[in-house]
Symmetry: D2
Subunit: 163 residues, 4 copies
């Protein structure tokens, strides 16, 4: 990743399908709010144990007018095992209510397209996008709630020319 890539606009979410939302979402439409994207695979133990519960806590802690939490189901292994029909049951059983995008399959190789555009190293990865739509953080693996609460608040407190 380039030195100042983290202040570039976040790449768009390329979704084959959206769940838990009546209509597709676009990052442009969320300008003015901080966006948290939990990138996960439904059969990734670290996502189930750590990443997704943390995303649920974020959604419950911050005002939805300040912070939007999204899931990105970015399957890069066991593709046949983690289909949308399985994901739908998973979200129901784990009571995950925030909108989840199914990352668009890649055209060359196992990596789906949004995952590739964000240069993700694996799952879980938690992404932070600021009110202006810029990519500001990308945490692969575990990040502590204390750190994350602080990072999100920095972004909340930035004024937005958009919002």
């Amino acid at each position: 990743m380039k030195a100042n890539a983290m202040s570039d606009l976040a790449p768009p979410i390329l979704a084959a399908e959206w769940l838990n939302t009546p209509e597709p979402l676009m990052l442009e439409g969320l300008r003015g709010r901080v966006v948290v994207i939990e990138c996960f695979q439904m059969l990734c133990p670290g996502c189930v144990t750590h990443g997704l519960p943390q995303a649920q806590r974020i959604a419950q802690t911050f005002r939805s007018s300040d912070v939007v939490v999204l899931g990105l189901h970015c399957v890069f292994e066991h593709h046949a095992a983690m289909t949308p029909v399985s994901l739908r049951a998973f979200l129901h059983e784990y009571r995950i209510r925030f909108p989840v995008a199914v990352d668009m399959a890649g055209e060359n190789g196992p990596l789906p397209q949004t995952m590739a555009a964000y240069a993700l190293e694996g799952t879980p990865t938690l992404i932070l996008i600021d009110r202006e739509g810029r990519l500001r953080a990308r945490h692969f693996g575990q990040v502590a709630d204390l750190v994350l609460g602080a990072e999100i608040m920095v972004l909340i407190q930035e004024s937005s020319v958009v919002g």
Copy 2:
């Protein structure tokens, strides 16, 4: 369940498929050993959090000459979401190494056949079968390790005319 049903012979495992074992297993072939069956669904949070890790601890704690641990994937909801191909990836990702039977689909209704024969109330359920092949305990939900360790040891200590 009848008053003395718990001392009857355990019903056979009716499996559509076996995973983690080179060939199908039959309870008759396990006579002389205590058998622990963890009945689960791969998308059941209580199974993932509690039941399956407990079954793994049992498999690591007792000698395999005394105790055999099996899984029974008894899907009674979200059937299309928990297919054998998904289960296979799940077992791989969660590092579950003991043999797992895929319960045979029921002919009338959502309950699979072994689940119906054991009159299970849901998942997770942990079943204990003694050295003689008799059904001795059936724990639905959470059971404490301390209780389970004691119960398994009672069965280990029973002499077997078979073994």
Copy 3:
């Protein structure tokens, strides 16, 4: 507590003794930094399980030039059981390294003086003081790391005319 008490200057820490620091600390001397005070009793289970580990995480997460973490041992029950000699061993065994003030015994009744001045309801209580020395939050019981990380960052980001 009065309606706007939370923006008043935080009362001074009245300490009979300080541990983990070569010399006594005064809040005035910490102006320019955010101050976190973990109010605890060494035999309070919620303090041992939740409050003190959280204070340790705060000390490890934020820069000491931004955030100072202090303990306040405010014994209001079992006074003979929680003496400074016991506290010293406790801090050693639990590897608590931040400075700890022993709250000055009250002159009328069981409540020690700083605890009374801050109108604390019990232990654990976590107090936040801003860079200007004003009392900004007082959490009795458990507060989530995500919330606390966000609250501390708000205070960190406030500019200080003092610092």
Copy 4:
């Protein structure tokens, strides 16, 4: 420890004081029952986190006619910090209800007398004594509930010529 020391009679408990019991207990008086002794220090983090909660679970799981749970407060460091008055408050706050013996101070050095007689390596240590009064296990550090449940059941199932 000698090769067959574990089948010797358990040494007597030399107590300076007993708490949580109207009168002192002697191992002889408990013959016929399995005795579990949780050896701890009130300021030992591993005892507070692991050992004592486990002893409480044992007391809640097994019938008191089969298993007696005792605590042994064997202070070998920070003696002035862990006096009986502090211990009493500790037991109250942590809701430990089983009888606790205060190990008799050693005459030469920091080790108290029962701790020395049992050749304990440190705290927490969990001791198992069979219905005949013989020392059967001595677990220093953490022992899993599953293992412990099984070990206790072995001792419960031994017939007793005494009981």
